[in-house]
Symmetry: T
């Protein structure tokens, strides 16, 4: 079955619990469930992965056999050239997502070192960012 | 009937005809048709508008009674503070879309003066960027 | 009768209706009325003009036979070199006004490309900015 | 009687005597007299103060019981964060004035560290800058 | 008959009348006449167009059937990415011209956002800049 | 018992052994012992943790039940937005400490991406930086 | 008796009275009393000094016979190279303190021109910043 | 006979032989011949000179008795203030030419230190750049 | 036996398999074999290590008993101050190597935060970069 | 008798006593004596003045009846626009001197805000800088 | 016989005699001898050339029939775009070498304008930098 | 006899003849004569040298047996790191001189790459700059 890998970067395990004003009340488990439902409906497999470790995210991107990757790099968005290089070297196209509108926050959040090697970016729609990315992944697969 | 306004900025009337390697072969008419179909299915009205004139886009944002605006500001993304101010002053939430991945192009295309006052941004998925934005608009309306 | 031309740039037609916390509750009609009263008292003609179109503002500056121009360029303050050039080429001295204190807002609002070719600048006094500028225009005329 | 304090920063004691091409031929005494006349007519007290010492200006802003301060910080406009902090901490609103159009002079004169904490700024009208500020102060008081 | 389109940007309608020290005493009509004579001699059609509106210039570049465009973008040289995109998307090669030596004027005039997508640039020769560009257009056509 | 967590970032395990001219001859064990003594005297628990891995430090900040965190991020001070986000999302206030005066060293050490979300910063007092931070933590707890 | 000199820079005489949300409700007199108590307990002399004048602070640093200086330069932190040079030339080590976390405020407050020549910096702990600095001074003296 | 001096800077002796994709297949000898023909037809003398040595180009500009200089400074365009000063001090007006469109190449090629003291600049028309400059020189001479 | 440690940073495990146009077709195993042969011939031990985790590379540099380290930090070259500090604190001299010419790639790859504390840098020779570094290590050891 | 005023800025009263490696062992009294001797020999009056207060230096420049001013602004060199304005407004030409070579020290010491309005600058010759300036003043007077 | 050309830029004739702490005690003659020995052993010809003149180095790169060039541009590394262009236009691949680790020296030495068009760079190994480059040249030739 | 070498950089052979408003009417021969007279009076030898070639100036600095060098690098002041390195490597101390006040001219003339390695700098006194430098050289020699 065709697989979509969803990677959640540092501190995303906290959403729904902390900084609710920025990220909303939905938990990561809620999002993973929402993605699983959509995958089931679409006849696709979804694998989800969260890590606070840059190296583990690089490892995961290198190892996966997924057809498309949905990647929320969290804080690593802004400096992890290692993840950028893994994305560029990888075979699966990558869709970058963000819960919040990173362009409406601090200046340092306006730059993504990963976006130039991703297919595209979806930011600012809360948990819907992931679901929209799921739709984009379906488009890419079809 | 609830209306979604879709604004296409300068030079977007040329897509499908010029610079096919950057923007793809889909025409603006194709996209407008695709949006109309989705709107019909969803019981929504879609109004589409293209202009090469910053002032006309500002006028349109001021005058519309749409519930959500999907805005592809084209080249004006990078300098039209007038459109930014219209978006900020407007009552309808605005979703910014781009056909191409602006972060994979020239440096001056990496900055959107409009993004900080939009709800969110979807970039890089070709004509699907619009359809994903339509989905996002539906989420906002529901 | 000696004429003073007052130009209101993009989105200023919305004041009093939108973003009341930034621009106050006075409407543009209120300001225009206030200016007309002062003009009547001073034996001067006031012409007022609002546009969201850079080109129309350039056209107006080129065509006017006013003796002094009071110009609130709105968002165009920060990037319209076309208006700057029209001001520099024009025969009438130009007084730049702003409702809000642009130096207390976002960084990009701290730079006016028009100020170097204006006579002077008055910013931050709400609708009084216009009335102070009217006084300054009277000084210039006398 | 309600008091308006007018502070003249470094080198403003020289105007009318030196650099007449930049600042005009009016002397500081002329301006102070002009302000006193306007105050008398308006039933207000005007206190004027000139100093070349940043510390004395800070002291004066801290100590005054004026209802409004008109402040021409002179060269200190561009670097005195100490005056900025005194303005921000003070109870009286502050109107920043400049004789010359600082935006038409050297680059380093385009930035005011004080403007962000002032009510507003009036620049470029020669001695009229002060009289316009007096009018603005009256508006604030009424 | 093969056509050369000549576009004059904002404020160029004023040359010969205003700021004669910068732009010389030749009027736009003089230049258009000079171009028409050269075209007649060369068996070419020349169409000339002046606008203060960015959008109209974009519209014109999109619609023209000219074989070569001679473009003096005026103030828009420095910020109109919309015109840049129209030039890049257009079928006709574009020659950028300037009356004055933009590199001998204010810093902000040293950068052209349009030059990178033009064939070349001719600046500083007064009305001769246009005639040299006409020669360059002939070279391109032959 | 109320707990204070002390986190030592990359390479801090080497102090006392390497670069003694920069960091002094005290070892990390010495510091941990000094903190433990102070904790015992104050009826508090101290937990100490050293890691060269950004991800482990993020994990630790997320998981701890400490009432206050004393954090020396080492080199990560200057780029780890992931740790910044963990600090911002965490419930325990964080005190940033540095052995050396980072402002007297290379330029890149003058910027802390973590300081804006910490309670405060103590830098330059060698091992005393930690003991002063312990005192600050006691103040916060009382 | 060994003396510790405590210097409070511009506007610090206002704390407790103005901008309580930034600096807290403690007054400078409270802090001076708190320092005096600690000094008495430690058998040390404390001299305190406040000035809004850069020159007086330089004079004081030059003249003092204190063994350690605790310096809160206030706004002068960010531009007074004169104080920096006095600190560098002085015989007594200097500890820089700030009531607020200067790194969580405006950008211009993130740079201290004095820190590179101080022993260390303590910022963000309100009045405790001074007491922590007193402890650091004791460490230096012992 | 009135003389036009044509100076070719470093590496221009290689054109036609190397990097044909950037500079075209025309050789420097071809260009010099083309210029000689035009000069003969116009009753003018043309002297051509190529050097890879900045100092020799300065020497030549100082010594020439030419009425106009056509200068392609090659790589020296971007840093030779010595040539700039020779141009500024010289009696003959200087026309700057470039074979390629320097604004469509690497960023460092977008700045000419010589342009501000030249009459004007012609860039991007291959060998025609020289012939257009020859025409411009004739205009200056007439 | 004297040991040389060779560290390969993030994504270097992919070379030979991915992005062959940038890094060539040689695999990491090939390089490790090539180094082992040279070591055997020279009577030296070579230990090789690859990791995508910054922290593991720091750990390894701290723990090794190698006499020289050959370090290809991969993407971490450009931001890992933690690795820089480990190199600076380490006892073994470090030789920085890169397969590709990092100065011919994206701007962000032109800066190495590690080079200032390395002995030297060898970049651009593909797998030979490692073998040249091996030779340099031998020079250092002799 | 024609007077030369010599102004020594902040911390210059310490030379010869502190930071002897930077400023040498000569005291300010030595320099003043050396200047007095030269003045006596030349039939000129020398007045010397030292202050740590920017305002006092401005006052002195405004009030003096000296024919030439020799000014060592010390740390104020780098930020005192108030002194710059006093120099520009003053009638006496000003010669800027520095004991040390400010271009061989920290970056912030490379910029003088005063030099653009001085006659010239002499830096790096220790106490001889003053004597050379005295010679330059004599040249100006003759 | 296949030739390797070795070019030594400005001031390299002084090594071994001056600034021995930076460049070591080896002379240029020593290095040339060392290269000649390696060449003899490898059946290759080595030609060495030193010049303080940018133009002569450009001339030499243009004229040589060497198969590989080893280039130490000395100070010209940082600004000679003329040499860069000669390298880019040349047929022989160029290896850039430096005796010292340029990344551990002044900021302006961290940028090489030549590196982007060289094959690769070897820096920091003293005279061994040249010998390593000789080895790299052999690799390229084989 | 002890020798002082005076080096005049590019275009200084033109002074007195060209740009008299900037450099004055004194010729280089006048200056050389003035220096020779002072040398004769002081029992010193003066050698003067002018070149428009960076390489010749480097050669001269390397070869001279002068005890002190007076260097006016002209335009090379701002970019010739080759001359800087020759100065730094040389045995003779170097005094940098400029006829004009380089700090009152274009921005690019405010930076000297040579000043950090010179003894000191004298600028702005016309031909007297050289004579003051001669005096400084005498001080150094005594």
């Amino acid at each position: 079955m065709t697989k979509i890998l969803v990677i959640h970067g540092p501190n995303l395990n906290l959403i729904g619990d902390r900084e609710v004003d920025v990220y909303g009340a939905t938990t990561l488990a809620d999002i993973n469930t929402g993605l699983a439902k959509r995958a089931a409906a679409a006849g696709l497999e979804v694998e989800t992965f969260q890590s606070n470790h840059e190296g583990e995210i690089v490892d995961m991107i290198q190892r996966t056999d997924a057809a498309v990757i949905i990647l929320n790099p969290g804080a690593l968005t802004h400096y992890s050239i290692a993840i950028r290089d893994a994305v560029a070297a990888g075979k699966a196209p990558v869709i970058e997502v963000h819960l919040s509108n990173i362009y409406a926050r601090e200046d340092f959040r306006h730059t993504s070192v990963i976006a130039p090697v991703a297919v595209g970016q979806i930011a600012g729609f809360g948990s819907s960012s992931y679901y929209l990315a799921f739709g984009a992944a379906q488009d890419i697969l079809s």
